[in-house]
Symmetry: C2
């Protein structure tokens, strides 16, 4: 599969790029600048070895090329990114929004959030690009932990979306990352809660002087696709 | 210590009563009706054995008697309860609000929330009883699991509050319940997030046909009092 990571030059996106490419996926890093995209892709290949399939290009081209498009950008730039890629996203394409509406977007604190007009960051994205098949995920997964390839992940991913098939596709990618699990958290509106949980983790990290607190969901030994 | 559980006749409150009394605490169940409080206290003693110290009385008397007062009531009745006990809560008493503002309070769904004017249910409580020393906790701990005394707990408690000493007192009680841990989630306003996480668990329970999904926080082997 061709996986696009817009914001793949940032910590979370670069970590996701490394993990997915390490699992054997072809990852296309999207960046505002084609040159920066290519530079960061080269850095990923340097880390992973020459056999890794990582390319870099513009956000627009990356949005066209990926079968699944991850968007991992700060909330302050999220709407602009979606406006930029809007005409480059095919009808029904699975787009995974990873944005948390942290108050840093408006000069506030990272353990506080703002409330997007549409309810959540992903619903704002959906309003801007209605033709995409949106899934929200990865809000509570530490970018630092994703980047530390030698360390096993210790976190569950909350996956929200309307379309069970899209969630299963994204879930399949999550399952390729060792020790990462996914929990179907419900429809897209549940991102109103899942997105804010990032801020709770920031607060916990701050209190305990950590960088990579995460959540595991208890109650079942395995999660993943409901009914499986 | 004398521990009051207002709403101790409900599932969450009764579970908390059983667990704290089993740990050796004296628990006073508060109820609108003194008789109902006493009946439910007798039921707790029946479950725990005659040595258990559980009494039942009115909410008002229970609020006076407890050194720490837990309030475990549905959001729809929360404000009325605080108005009722307001004059019976001593200045500075530690009050642990466990309310989640689920949309069921207004006829909506349990996996959806309403947004209290003050930001969170506990901040609404604080506005009604400003003299109490509020802590918010237990939103994401299954009442069913609390009641099932033979089963070990498998959940972390998010504890929010302004006063570290009050959080440590509540944390000490949590640590008396085997296998339950507490995580300091920050100041009282962080309950704006922690309270809504109940709804996310309801969604997960609904999707996977469970009753007792919970959260564990990863990133440290032990949590509890920060800096310890």
């Amino acid at each position: 599969m061709d996986i696009t990571v817009i914001g793949g030059t940032g910590e979370e996106g670069f970590g996701l790029t490394l993990r997915l490419a390490k699992a054997g996926e072809h990852v296309i890093i999207g960046s505002r600048s084609e040159e920066k995209g290519q530079t960061v892709a080269a850095k990923a290949r340097e880390i992973l070895g020459a056999s890794a399939a990582v390319d870099g290009t513009t956000n627009e081209k990356a949005a066209e090329q990926g079968d699944v498009v991850f968007v991992t950008v700060p909330f302050a730039g999220q709407a602009d990114i979606y406006r930029a890629i809007k005409d480059h996203v095919a009808e029904g394409k699975v787009v995974v929004d990873c944005t948390s509406p942290l108050a840093t977007a408006v000069g506030g604190r990272a353990w506080q959030v703002v409330r997007p007009w549409h309810g959540s960051a992903v619903e704002q994205a959906k309003a801007l690009v209605p033709k995409a098949n949106f899934v929200a995920a990865f809000h509570t997964v530490s970018g630092e932990q994703l980047r530390a390839l030698e360390r096993p992940m210790d976190s569950d991913v909350f996956v929200c979306g309307k379309d069970p098939a899209a969630k299963a596709i994204v879930g399949g990618l999550i399952e390729e990352i060792p020790n990462l699990r996914w929990v179907d958290a419900g429809d897209l509106t549940m991102a109103r809660i899942a997105e804010t949980m990032t801020a709770l983790l920031v607060s916990v990290n701050r209190t305990y002087k950590l960088h990579d607190a995460g959540f595991r969901v208890t109650g079942r030994d395995a999660w993943g696709k409901p009914g499986s």
